[in-house]
Symmetry: C2
Subunit: 210 residues, 2 copies
């Protein structure tokens, strides 16, 4: 993986964000020092404090920069779905939820977004709670409602469980990209998203027959 600092001569602030991002992804938050970040970014240690105030606030900035467009995309995709007159399927809702990742195909966003989200979710809850509360307000609730409309016979509590497991399957893909024994090319990510969709739609729509 290329080091963030080699991405060209951007501003000090952006170089710090890039370096922090790739190091947080690789080693996690607690195991990454500001020194390692500023060294990789080729900036002075004090610059990190000047621009971000504290290590935690730097993490919040790193996270916000990537997640804000994702959450916005999710809301917009759901808006579009609800505006159309025909009823929508579970698959439609799942696609809407994942649409920011499909849409980022050409972007270099796909190089870091899955790894970053996967890593943030994996951090201890004491660290991520303040982060996630700010960013995800409303999105999960709106998607649960939409899923309920696509699956009117499933009780709300049951639906929350199925959505919970769906998030878990998604995080697994984001964190590891490929199962043990298989390797995933970067270009295959959209293909593996399709596999994820098939899996979670089956789980969401399940009807016990045995």
């Amino acid at each position: 993986m290329p080091v963030a600092a080699t991405r060209g001569a951007s501003s000090t602030r952006e170089r710090i964000l890039d370096a922090a991002e790739s190091l947080f992804i690789e080693h996690g938050y607690a195991a990454t020092s500001l020194r390692a970040i500023t060294t990789a970014a080729d900036v002075n240690l004090a610059a990190a404090h000047y621009h971000f105030g504290s290590k935690f606030d730097l993490l919040a900035a790193v996270f916000h920069r990537r997640i804000e467009p994702v959450e916005r995309g999710r809301l917009e995709a759901l808006d579009a779905l609800e505006r159309q007159e025909a009823p929508f399927s579970v698959r439609d809702v799942v696609y809407a939820f994942l649409s920011p990742m499909y849409g980022a195909e050409a972007d270099d966003l796909l190089d870091v977004l899955p790894d970053l989200i996967g890593r943030i979710y994996a951090e201890p809850e004491s660290l991520t709670k303040p982060l996630l509360e700010g960013e995800f307000s409303g999105v999960a609730g709106r998607y649960l409602t939409a899923l309920g409309q696509a699956l009117p016979d499933v009780p709300p509590a049951e639906l929350r469980w199925r959505f919970h497991f769906t998030i878990g399957a998604m995080i697994q893909l984001l964190r590891f990209r490929a199962p043990l024994g298989l390797t995933a090319e970067r270009a295959d990510f959209v293909g593996s998203l399709d596999r994820l969709v098939d899996y979670v739609v089956a789980g969401l729509e399940q009807e016990r027959t045995s």
Copy 2:
């Protein structure tokens, strides 16, 4: 949550293991100091090094103590399944995989096992790779083979993906116990395992119809 050190007067070595376990679960590996561990265990700092050699080796011991019986139980359950003459279903294999967690009902094992496994899986790969390689050799492979027998029409690569997502859903349950908006009583864990089984069996057995 009760502090590990209050579990009675066990040996120094066990007190260190208990305290390390609960602190690792709560704050993660990197954010937990040996000093915090030995203070919680009410033992001397040097004792940790005497008994375990290093912080990493302590983590390995914490992990091994819990995961070894789980992996052994998984292999034994699969042995039993394969010994019987009737063909087995996907659901049978999934139950075998989760059997150590069902079986631990009466045990206090369920107090920590899900949290610990969930946390370990969430640590950065650079940390967990040496741990997981030693413990999981063979188990995943055997279960993939068994799943392949229950699903003879699914190509092996496709099966690996479905198994991958299954692990993700399981980890999500272990880490968070309940979806946002719902609370899970400790006694409900077996009930939520049943929900997990329904979800992943549907994903594993999926047949696209749309």
